[in-house]
Every structure is written in structure tokens, then in C-alpha cells.
């Protein structure tokens, strides 16, 4: 059975062109880029080229790119570095809807004696910038706000956020893992100090990422050891991964218009089709400014894991913000922060598309999912009878 992969905010397939470029570095070109000999040195030059490609996609200087393992590492490093370089400042601002790579670090720091403010979001998943303004303090070391939310696709006004924070003397970090390849990034005009991206969200392999560190910003490395990455991230580079990330960035940059036209059109067709075919469904964050590839839809009276498993029978892959898919028993913290009612939050499904998806795949989902929801509603004790009030208004 062919897989219909609509879970690209979780991870993406490696682009064949990326793979092709990586392959020689697994076999004949295995030199260590730090070696003095020409065999390793030539790999070092490829690494520099990859750095240039990544810098190009981010709109920054190659020297401002630090290669690492993933978005989580970038987020961790940026936050810890920002605090370590300003020991007199003890306050951090972030949001309630961050990825755990940020949320769990901030919670950990709170236990270590830092103070944190978690900005809330409205029912569309958007921040209130006045709340940010009111939260900033002279001892605010860092504002860490994601650029786009992984669950709903809501895009935050990061330029505005960075400007407000910088005016008050705070450093700014943004988790841009979901943004790369979907929204143009130009760090020349975006005044953030740190920005984290991850390879596997942009058709490069897993295990490689990059952190932008603005030139002149004080930096405290997370990994200590050799002099790799100019001492900013020790450890022999994941050469093949970095080569892949470089190529993926080049392709992503070339495809950004396609992402915002063809992929977006496909997403919109899927969303509109599902809403038309399935009663009591709603898009979480529908009117917010959104990533072109993401839609998060809730189906009332049914539970997300059950929907996912039934879709799995047709090879359809997506994600759910329902509690039952995670170790936790509460539905997604993002949907809860948005005040999505429980009746909807438990039955939420995130579809995230990529340039590899096709019209035929969307057709299959549009044909099968309404039947799946109807079947699960048949089993559910909460299905709404004709003319009856909603089962729950919480």
C-alpha cells in the first residue's frame, strides 16, 4: 500500500537530489574536514559550501551559522547561552505554545532559580504583543518565541516581537524549525540574535541542524571539546548531514514560491473538502496567519488516536493533538492554550503537506476520512441527534 504522507511537520522525506549529493560522503569521500591532508581538506571545502548555502537561505553571513544535531540542540544552546552571557539578568519570556525543546528548558531553568513569563495566545493561537510589552523587565535576559507553531501552523509576527524585545535590551531567540522553506527568512532585516533550524523538516536527513548566532552576540558553547565550528560546537561534524542540509536549503529556497502556491492550494483544497464533507468540524487557528502547508482540524465527538489508526489502514499518515497519542493524558498544550474546547481538542488531526504530495492523495483523504469519522461517530455515545443541542459546551 502506498503511503500518503501528510505529517511533514513531524519529519520529511529526504529529497532524492539531497540524497544524491550526500552519498559520496558516506563512501569514498570519508575524510575528516579538520584533517591537514588534502583528502580531508577537500571535504572541508564542501562543508564551507554547505555553510554558504545555509547562510544564503537564512540571509546571514556564513560565519554566523553553527552546525549542530537538531532544532532541539539549537534551542537549548541559544537559551542557555543567552542566560550564561548575562548572569545579572534572571528573567526569561517565552510562550505557552512553544515546542518542548524550548518549554522544557525554560521550566528547568525556573527550577534553577530563573523567573519565566509564559505569554498566552488567543483562540486563533496568536500572541498579544501588549502582553509582551508589559512582561519585559530590565532584567529580562531573553525573549524566546517560535516563529511558526508546529501544531497549528500559526505564524507569529517575529519581526515585531524582536523589535519590541530589542528596544528593551533583551536578547531574542526564535525557533524557526517550521519556517525554513515555507516563509522567506532574511536575517539581515530580522533583528533576532539566535535562530534555530533543523534539517529533517526541510527534506534533509535527521540528525543535522543549524543555529544562527548573530555576529557580535556573546556566545557560550553548549558542547566543549575540539575547535570545530570555531569552538562554538565541538565534535567532528556530521559531514554527510551538513552536505544534505546545504543542498536542502538550496532547493527549499528555490521552491518557496511553489510552497506558497501549489502546496498551499493543495492544503486549502484538503481543508475545504473536509469541512464541506464532515459536519461539526473546525479548523484550529483558521484565520490566523498560517504556514502554507498546515491545517489542524478538530472533529467533534470522536477521538484523535482512533481517527489516526483508522486512517493508517489506508496508509494515510497524520498527527493528532489528542491525549491518547501521547504519554500525557491531557490533549495538546497548544490547543488547550488556545482554549479549544475539550469536545474538539480530543478529536484534532494535524495535516502537514509537502511538495511531494499530490492531488490524488488529497482525493483519497477526501474520500476516506468522512467515512472514518462517520463510523467513529456511530460508535460514540456523544453523536448529536438532529435538532439536539451540542453535547458539551465546555
Amino acid at each position: 500500500m502506498a503511503v500518503i504522507y501528510l505529517d511533514n511537520n513531524a519529519t520529511t522525506r529526504v529529497d532524492p537530489a539531497v540524497l544524491e549529493e550526500m552519498l559520496p560522503f558516506f563512501s569514498e569521500r570519508y575524510g575528516n574536514p579538520s584533517s591537514m591532508h588534502a583528502f580531508g581538506g577537500s571535504v572541508g571545502r564542501e562543508l564551507s559550501q554547505a555553510r554558504e548555502r545555509v547562510a544564503q537561505a537564512l540571509g546571514c553571513a556564513p560565519g554566523e551559522v553553527v552546525f549542530n544535531a537538531c532544532g532541539t540542540e539549537g534551542d537549548n544552546t541559544a537559551i542557555r547561552s543567552a542566560l550564561a552571557s548575562q548572569p545579572e539578568k534572571r528573567h526569561i519570556i517565552t510562550t505557552r505554545v512553544e515546542h518542548p525543546a524550548v518549554l522544557n528548558v525554560v521550566k528547568h531553568l525556573e527550577r534553577k532559580g530563573y523567573e519565566a513569563t509564559y505569554l498566552g495566545v488567543d483562540h486563533e493561537g496568536m500572541l498579544d504583543l501588549d502582553e509582551l510589552r508589559d512582561s519585559l523587565r530590565p532584567d529580562t535576559a531573553l525573549v524566546s518565541v517560535m516563529w511558526a507553531n508546529n501544531e497549528t501552523g500559526a505564524v507569529f509576527p517575529i519581526h515585531e516581537i524582536a523589535r519590541i524585545a530589542k528596544e528593551r535590551g533583551a536578547l531574542v531567540h526564535t525557533d524557526a524549525v517550521q519556517v525554513l522553506g515555507k516563509i522567506p527568512i532574511d536575517l539581515k532585516t530580522l533583528p533576532v540574535d539566535f535562530l534555530a533550524v533543523s534539517g529533517h523538516k526541510v527534506h534533509a536527513p535527521k540528525g543535522v541542524g543549524a543555529l544562527f548566532v548573530r555576529k557580535g552576540v556573546q556566545y557560550r558553547p553548549f558542547m566543549l571539546g575540539g575547535h570545530q565550528e570555531h569552538g562554538r560546537r565541538a565534535g567532528t561534524e556530521n559531514t554527510t548531514g551538513i552536505i544534505g542540509l546545504g543542498k536542502a536549503c538550496e532547493i527549499a529556497q528555490a521552491n518557496i514560491a511553489h510552497e506558497n502556491s501549489a502546496v498551499k492550494a493543495l492544503r486549502d483544497r484538503l481543508e475545504a473538502g473536509l469541512l464541506a464533507a464532515i459536519p461539526e468540524a473546525r479548523v484550529n487557528g483558521s484565520t490566523a496567519s498560517r504556514l502554507p502547508n498546515t491545517t489542524n482540524i478538530s472533529f467533534q465527538y470522536v477521538e484523535g488516536e482512533a481517527i489516526l489508526l483508522m486512517m493508517d489502514a489506508f496508509g494515510i499518515c497524520a498527527s493528532s493533538g489528542s491525549a491518547c497519542t501521547s504519554g500525557s493524558l491531557e490533549p495538546s498544550h497548544v490547543l488547550r492554550a488556545m482554549g479549544v474546547p475539550f469536545t474538539y481538542a480530543h478529536g484534532s488531526i494535524r495535516f502537514s503537506l509537502s511538495r511531494f504530495n499530490t492531488d490524488a492523495e488529497v482525493d483519497t483523504v477526501l474520500a476516506e476520512l468522512p467515512k472514518i469519522i462517520a463510523r467513529l461517530r456511530e460508535i460514540s455515545p456523544f453523536k448529536r441527534q438532529e435538532g439536539e443541542a451540542p453535547a458539551c459546551t465546555c
Binding site: 465527538y301 477521538e303 489508526l309 491518547c324 493524558l329 456511530e378
Partner: protein, 282 residues
């Protein structure tokens, strides 16, 4: 994704006995939309209280639907009293097992059955609704928790969450769960005061404190944790801060902080000094 047995998958994809019995002799309802799972069970009985038909409606994940399906299959043909003998473990076993985090789905089946019988007998509340609500997030009472501990031989707070959902939300009730668990396991009774405790001097010297801490850990705390597959090692005593390492099952246990605070620290405070704090080193 959860590792489900083929039987769970089969009962999820093709659940048996879905629907309502309009003229049911009794109906049992548990759970709610807010909690993320709910089950409504309909029973039709003959004159001897034998279950001639059982149907269900479930809102929930694959294991909740499969557990409901399994339950109806298991109780059909049994008398009400025989059906009541079916435990949540039996439901899980019928399905070839459930992931431990999903055991509460089998408990929900058992509770729905009890609710249906309570409805049949004209009793006002199902047994699980009695007692004091311990977990506000999921409305779980102390009675439900004690019962789950006894029936399933639970030994950690994490297991209580797996079986009852209590503690799976905001986490406010975790301390109370640890207390209930300790009580249920008779740990409080087992912890006999040390002979030295009554004669505890007002201020201990460092040496005395060190000795007393290590004696309490060695003789009481470690053996008690070992019973549950865990262990503890004293690393250092720095003033009134006791540094320990958790070993075995405790080291990977999500509720280890609860164990540290509610059991280790509490016991050391009783046995050694009121203001001792315990910290974990990794």
C-alpha cells in the same frame, strides 16, 4: 504509535456489539468528553438475570473501543453476578494485553459494568463515584485509587496514573497519590521508628547526622524501594542536604521526584531532623 496486539486492532477495526439497546434492562455510563474517553453500556437480561445481549457506545482511543468490544463479548451469556467477576485484568488479557499507559481503558470497561449493575439494582451511585475526589482533573476518588492498587497490585504513582488516569493532568494530586499508595502498601506501618529516634538530640553533629541518615537509608528506605525493583544510594550529606542517587526501577521512574520528596525526605525528616532536604544527583 502504541504497540497494540493484533487482537486489540481487530476489535478496534471491527468492534462487536456496537450500538444501543432501546429497551435495555440497565445502562451503565462512565467517563466524559472532557476526560477524553467515555463508555455507555446497555444490557438486556432474561428472567434469571442472564445477559442475553450487551451493546456499547464508546468515545475514546483504539484501546477504549477494543476494551468495550471485548467486555461485551466476555459478559454475554453470563449472569450478572458472573459478569461482575470479570476484572479489568481479564479484559486486558482477552485482548492479548494493553500498553500499560492504556490500562485505564480496561478499568473503564469494568466500571461501566458496575455502573450498569448499580442501575439495575436501583443503587444511586456506582462504587467508583464514592469517596473523596483526589484528582480533580479526571474526577478520580480515593476509593477508585485504593481499589486499583489492590486489584492490580500497583506499586508506583505512575502505575496509578496508567490504571486510573489520576495524576495525568496538572499533577497537583501526585503527592496525595503517593500518600494513598504508601498507606495502601502499609509502608507507614512498616517503618518502625529507629530505637535512636526518641532520644534524638536537639542539634546533631555532622558525624551524628551522617550516621543516622545512612542508617535510615540502609535499613529502611533502601529495602522498601528494593521491594518495588528500585534502589537508592547515599552519595553525600552536605550540611542538611542529603544527596542521593536513585537506582533500578526508581531511576527511570517518572514519579521519582514524588518518591524522593514524599517518601525518602519525609522519612529522613521523621528519623533524623525536621529540616533535612533530599536532592537527587544524576
Amino acid at each position: 504509535m502504541w504497540e497494540y496486539t493484533d487482537k486489540v486492532r481487530e476489535h478496534f477495526i471491527n468492534p462487536r456489539n456496537v450500538g444501543e439497546i432501546p429497551d435495555a434492562d440497565c445502562v451503565g455510563e462512565v467517563g466524559s468528553l472532557a476526560c477524553g474517553d467515555a463508555l455507555k453500556l446497555f444490557l438486556k437480561l432474561d428472567e434469571n438475570e442472564r445477559i442475553v445481549d450487551a451493546k456499547f457506545q464508546t468515545f475514546g482511543c483504539a484501546s477504549a473501543i477494543a476494551s468495550s468490544s471485548a467486555l461485551t463479548e466476555m459478559i454475554k451469556g453470563k449472569t450478572v453476578d458472573e459478569a461482575l467477576e470479570v476484572s479489568n485484568q481479564d479484559i486486558a488479557q482477552f485482548l492479548g494485553g494493553l500498553p500499560k499507559e492504556k490500562m485505564h481503558c480496561s478499568v473503564m470497561g469494568k466500571e461501566a459494568l458496575e455502573a450498569a449493575v448499580a442501575n439495575l439494582r436501583g443503587l444511586p451511585v456506582a462504587p467508583h463515584e464514592e469517596g473523596e475526589v483526589v484528582c480533580e482533573c479526571f474526577g478520580v476518588t480515593d476509593q477508585t485509587i485504593r481499589r486499583a492498587i489492590a486489584e492490580n497490585n500497583l506499586s508506583t504513582v505512575e502505575e496509578i496514573t496508567d490504571f486510573t488516569k489520576a495524576g495525568g493532568g496538572c499533577g497537583k494530586c501526585l503527592d496525595r497519590l503517593a500518600d494513598i499508595l504508601a498507606e495502601a502498601k502499609g509502608q507507614k506501618k512498616e517503618l518502625k521508628p529507629l530505637e535512636i529516634a526518641p532520644a534524638k538530640p536537639a542539634g546533631l553533629t555532622n558525624m551524628q547526622r551522617m550516621k543516622l541518615v545512612s542508617k535510615t537509608i540502609e535499613e529502611e528506605i533502601a529495602p522498601s524501594l528494593q521491594k518495588d525493583g528500585g534502589d537508592i544510594e547515599l552519595v553525600d550529606v552536605d550540611g542538611k542536604t542529603v544527596l542521593v542517587k536513585l537506582r533500578g526501577a526508581c531511576s527511570s521512574c517518572k514519579s521519582s521526584q514524588v518518591t524522593l520528596k514524599q517518601f525518602v525526605e519525609k522519612r529522613l525528616r521523621e528519623a533524623v531532623e525536621q529540616d533535612i532536604t533530599v536532592q537527587e544527583v544524576r
